[in-house]
Amino acid sequence: MQQPQLLHEEKVFKDPVHRYVHVRDKFIWDLINSPEFQRLRRVKQLGTSFFTFHGGEHSRFNHSLGVYELMRRILETFEGRIQLTYEEKLLCLCAALLHDVGHGPFSHSFEKVFKYHHEDWTRAILLGDTQINRILRRFDEEFPKKLAEVINKTYDNKLIVSLISSQLDADRMDYLLRDAYYTGVNYGNFEIERILRVMRPQEDGIVFKFSGMHAVEDYIMSRYQMYWQVYFHPVTRSAEVVLCKIFQRAKWLFANGYPFSQEPVMLLPFLQEKVELADYLALDESAILFYMQLWRKEDDPILKDLCARFLDRNLFKYVEYNPRDFRLLAELKEQFQQAGIDPMYYLEVDTTSDLPYDFYRAGEEEERIPIMLQMPSGELVELSQKSEIVQAISGKRRFDYKLYFPLDKVMALPGDLSRKIRERLGVMEDA
């Protein structure tokens, strides 16, 4: 059985959310110093949110360290309550630290256009020819595989999986607190210390002491607010739309033999759909921004316009859209086409939806694992049975639809044409 290999002196990272991130295990320290983990410094946690909340420039590196620190504290509170081996503890800590290691630049837009899932890259990094894999194998040849299973939720120990992935896990707790801190909003705050204190391990997952219910309620409400006020902010979504269009245009141009003034070397594997792990790891947000700088000087009018819009924050405007009104969309597409504005790149419906909390209903095929409260008698009760606040939002889906378009381009059209399109869009003012 492996014994912990401790650093001579504990390392600490100053952290604005958790105050300090403590590292004593050499294994963890080595993982943090691996090039694949350091790459996360160059991938923003919130993608394009910085266009809306200028403080939201923090990276996936910050977040990953934060999740690790929360996990470390959770394991501390479990001491004496459950027996975990060193390997199990290490699995928890490594899963917390590395759960996002496969994220690429501007993940959501990039994944959508180039059709891959970052989870597959996380797995490839853990199991492939990487520094991280070599470090993990120092513990045990099977350790990388076990870790991939924990992150993939297919590991046999449900408690370990639920710590990193459930409706109240270390990942969500860190990103809500961290994103709220960096964006400067108040919504995401909740009493983390209290939640950690009332967390109790069980064979099938974690439960929370009934006395801590209000802290859990606060967390659920924070999550609800953060999604609608920060993550789904329409300006952020507009930047995402423009970004997607840039990638789509670059892909289309490449497929049609467009002679880029400078070959997009780092993007070639993606454009050619032959991406190796090394290609993936080489790409970060600075590379994407570099190509945008080049592309804003390209001859292709659409690519150059979209890149300039993104870099200069001249984003698309939006109006509320009724998704049942698909005839309107068809008409608008036609009008845009006639006006010489390609609707493929300049007209987009964006939908957002969220389910703040849900529980398993007997007899139904829902799959969310509920948050359980431990009553003083020891009985376990699902959260919404005791909390009226949570019950009010349980299982409630909310949807939002917006239609994005470049108002400046529409305004620049000859008077009658511009008026007709603006009439259809419902934007008669110069807003």
Partner: protein, 174 residues
């Protein structure tokens, strides 16, 4: 533009009616493995591969009035049935979706029950593992379903059958 929605509506149109949320989930997951262009992200959950995005999308389609949802109670079990309505058909006229030969696979999947499709999707989820390991995972995670080794073999044969249906003409669906 709303193309993700259109793909789900088209799937329902092809089969006429999908019985059960789980069945729809598994059909889309298996479809993705057959290179059909579904966009939903799946994770491993209680009933095997599951997509919360898909759950939300189906709710959304009901909310938009494009598909009809009927709930049928059989004792403690609630069964959801999904079918396309006139508005949904109208919607599809504005959104081109072509699964190509994938349509045959969709029809074939719909002939099976959700329990079997749950097994098939779980086999696909652990397809990267050697057979014995994959079998072990199924027996561990699906112990309540009490799948037999014979059923696992049948599931593998079914996957091969679906692949041959999709690959028959060699065209990739769009």
């Amino acid at each position: 533009m709303l193309s993700r929605h259109a793909k789900i509506i088209r799937l329902i149109e092809i089969v006429g009616e999908v019985s059960g949320r789980k069945k729809l989930q598994k059909m889309v997951y298996i479809g993705k493995h057959l290179e059909m262009d579904f966009d939903e992200r799946f994770e491993f959950h209680m009933y095997g591969p599951y997509s919360e995005e898909l759950t939300l999308r189906v709710d959304e389609l009901c909310n938009m009035g494009l598909i009809d949802e009927q709930v049928e109670s059989k004792g403690a079990i609630h069964m959801y049935r999904y079918s396309l309505n006139e508005t949904g058909r109208d919607f599809l006229r504005f959104h081109e979706v072509d699964f190509g030969l994938g349509e045959q696979a969709i029809l074939r999947m719909n002939e099976e029950n959700s329990r079997f499709l749950e097994l098939v999707s779980t086999i696909l989820y652990f397809n990267h593992l050697p057979y014995e390991e994959m079998k072990g995972k199924i027996f561990t995670f699906k112990s309540k379903q009490r799948y037999t080794e014979e059923e696992i073999r049948k599931g593998q044969a079914f996957i091969a059958e679906l692949r041959s249906l999709v690959q028959a003409g060699g065209t990739k669906p769009v």
